[in-house]
């Protein structure tokens, strides 16, 4: 079972990836960064978006499969 805060970041990542409207895409990129920064601040860790996505990729894939219609 993944930390529910990661699921929030995964949701932000997936929504950002799937968005094709230009303005919305930009806002969702900011939202993803915001959620990741919030998590890092809570845990006192420093991790870049790329590192986060790389280290959680298998969990993200599993989570994504569990999201019907996404």
């Amino acid at each position: 079972m993944i930390d529910p805060r990661l699921a929030v970041i995964f949701e932000a990542r997936l929504t950002w990836t799937q968005e094709t409207d230009k303005e919305a895409k930009l806002l969702l990129w900011l939202k993803f960064q915001e959620e990741l920064e919030k998590f890092c601040k809570q845990e006192g860790i420093q991790i870049s978006p790329g590192e986060f996505l790389h280290f959680t990729r298998d969990a993200f894939r599993e989570w994504r499969r569990s999201q019907p219609g996404k």
């Binding site: 993944i2 950002w16 799937q18 094709t20 930009l26 996505l53 280290f55 993200f60 499969r65």
Partner: protein, 140 residues
Amino acid sequence: MSLNPLLEPPPGASFRDLDSTLKECIARFSHPNDPLVAWKTSFDEWIDAVKNFHEAEDRHIYQNDRPDQVTWRFHRFLLHSLIGRGEHLALQLLSMTVAEEEKTRQLQFLDAFLTDLRLTVETWHKVGGQAPLNPLAKYL
């Protein structure tokens, strides 16, 4: 003919290129005093390509248990091609004589798509593979 359909040459590629060039020319012809119109047409076409890529990526990478070597390489090839085209659009935009504010705005939009693709490369195709110690392991 190859057994793997991913290795087949793309059908009618030249017609697609012509179609894309034509759309840009028509946009330029329709709005000769607005250099951004033709650029935006190319940007929209690129966004369509990115959308199609993500739909195929879902099937081949996320819903597939074990993508094979060709699938991974094809995924990387498409990512790099889309990033290359996107960066070219950025360079075209930067060389245009348009209002600075509008240029910055369009560049931010473009970068939101480009960053998404660049992070996908880092997610799945990071050089050196996965580090032995995952700093996020306790949350997974």
